[in-house]
């Protein structure tokens, strides 16, 4: 399969590049676009991004490895990232994570065999006033209870 940005993403990348005096500064935006398009960042995708921005592959790899939100391995369709930092921990963040782990029968950092769900432990997501919470792909699910988790996973399993 040839790795190539869609026309829409190429346009978005041009807009992003116009914001900065160097094309390297658009690297983070480009990686976001690539991750949206491919789901994760493989070596080939990183090389492609490096090539179109004129950034060495080593720098791209360094950036991908440095920032936790870039996936350097495949993740499920729904990525559940449960916050377990202090405020969430005090409000039962670990109970929520363990509950999801039991419910989906996967460990932390694992993906269900059907490729639908990935469970991760996350550091503080800046949602301490609505703890416990998790991040589902791009959006937050807050003030979690076990019932809410049941409903959420039921809903997502059907789609």
């Amino acid at each position: 399969m040839e790795i190539k940005f869609t026309d829409e993403n190429l346009k978005k990348l041009e807009v992003s590049k116009s914001h900065y005096p160097t094309s390297a500064a658009a690297l983070m935006d480009a990686l976001w676009l690539a991750q949206d398009q491919y789901g994760w960042l493989s070596v080939d995708v990183m090389k492609y991004v490096g090539k179109i921005l004129d950034v060495p592959y080593e720098q791209v790899l360094g950036v991908v490895e440095f920032y936790t939100m870039y996936n350097n391995k495949p993740v499920g369709k729904y990525h559940l990232q449960v916050c377990t930092n202090i405020s969430c921990m005090l409000c039962g963040g670990y109970d929520i994570m363990d509950y999801i782990s039991d419910k989906l029968d996967i460990g932390v950092g694992e993906t269900t065999p059907d490729g639908k769900f990935t469970l991760s432990e996350a550091e503080c997501l800046g949602s301490c006033g609505t703890a416990p919470m998790l991040q589902l792909n791009n959006y937050y699910e807050e003030n979690l209870t076990k019932e809410k988790i049941d409903n959420l996973i039921d809903k997502l399993s059907k789609t």
């Binding site: 500064a25 939100m69 006033g129």
Partner: protein, 433 residues
Amino acid sequence: MSFEPIILREISDLHNIEVYMKNGGYKGLKKALGMTPAGIIDEVKKSGLRGRGGACFPTGMKWSFMPQKSEKPKYLCCNGDESEPASFKDREIFEKNPHQFIEGTLIACYAMGIKTAYVYIRGEYYRWIELLQKALDDAYKKKLVGKNIMGSKFSTDIFIHRGAGAYICGEETALLNSLEGKRGMPRFKPPFPANYGLWGCPTTINNIETLANIPPIIEKGGEWFSKIGEPKHPGSLMYGLSGHINKPGIYELPSGTLLTDLINKYGGGVTGNKPIKMIIPGGSSMPPLKGDEIEGLKMDNENLKSVNSYIGTAGIVVMNEDTDVVKIIKRITKFYYHESCGQCTPCREGCGWMLKILERIDNGKGRKEDIELLNNIANNIEGNTICAFGEAAAWPVKWAIKKFMPDFERKVNESIVLPVANKVHSLRVTYQQ
């Protein structure tokens, strides 16, 4: 005198540009455009406004460090990385009053002669990036941002830069590297960003809340602002309450509000009405307080120094008597171990070492010399790193040992039976004589 919030004003739909303008929005900018840049900086100096990102550096003074004449372009970076555990205030601004922040950014750009501002927002805040982008688009349409703002000669662009999940990018020089498309590793200072910042050009970095305070200062004058709250740290603070508290959330109140008032009057008291064991006053990196230290304690940077702590980002975590201090400190240290950028040896190795020891103590395998060793490692991280991350990682450990020694000693001295049914992470621990 009742206090009226400066940023989280009680007006519904204030995020809407029409509503914001109807309620006096962008008047501060209009007034600023009629002033001289030096006049604006003087007004901000007079207000006594201090940075809200944690370091409490006087904003007016920071602005005056920017060279007035520069051959290179100048930049403003608005720091919305907000990764300090227990702080969640900037997202309230993006959500409820984004235009006041945009207006403040424009005034700052005018005062320092800046043509490009970047808003660095943490990658997880996808929804709030969308909200701010919408607000920016509206402002562009009304010619409040972009070329010839309000028909003047002043032009400035504001762009959002999305991070990707790295705590350290909240450190100002790491943020600059991240903006340049590199790994977010802090730089040596000097050279300071005001001389050598983004792409080697003069750069100022301000917190989102700091900039949101600017429009009312310009409109009502620095003197008005300097009279709110504590004189040495004036203005309002956006206190974030979380943990064992009945009504968690963000409360904008004058600086120097009593901590007990914050907890009982605004936060609705401690969950289950239990006594307080520990309080973190300003985000996880600030030295924790004991429950008996909070009576009569005012929440601002100067007053917190009397109990050896700082205001930080004003993210307050309340913990009741059931809390296991060692587990909390272990979790905080795990965070710093995960987030250390790895540039300086004391921090990279020290955080991992401290975590190992804390895990050992928590699992009932602690050794007698461990507490002293922990203290020693923390002291060897503090002050020996490029950025303040070292202090952030060392302080919670060091001060928790100092203030909660019996908790650590008990874990080291007594044999602990871990209830098999409980997961290792559960907060419940059974002690056996």
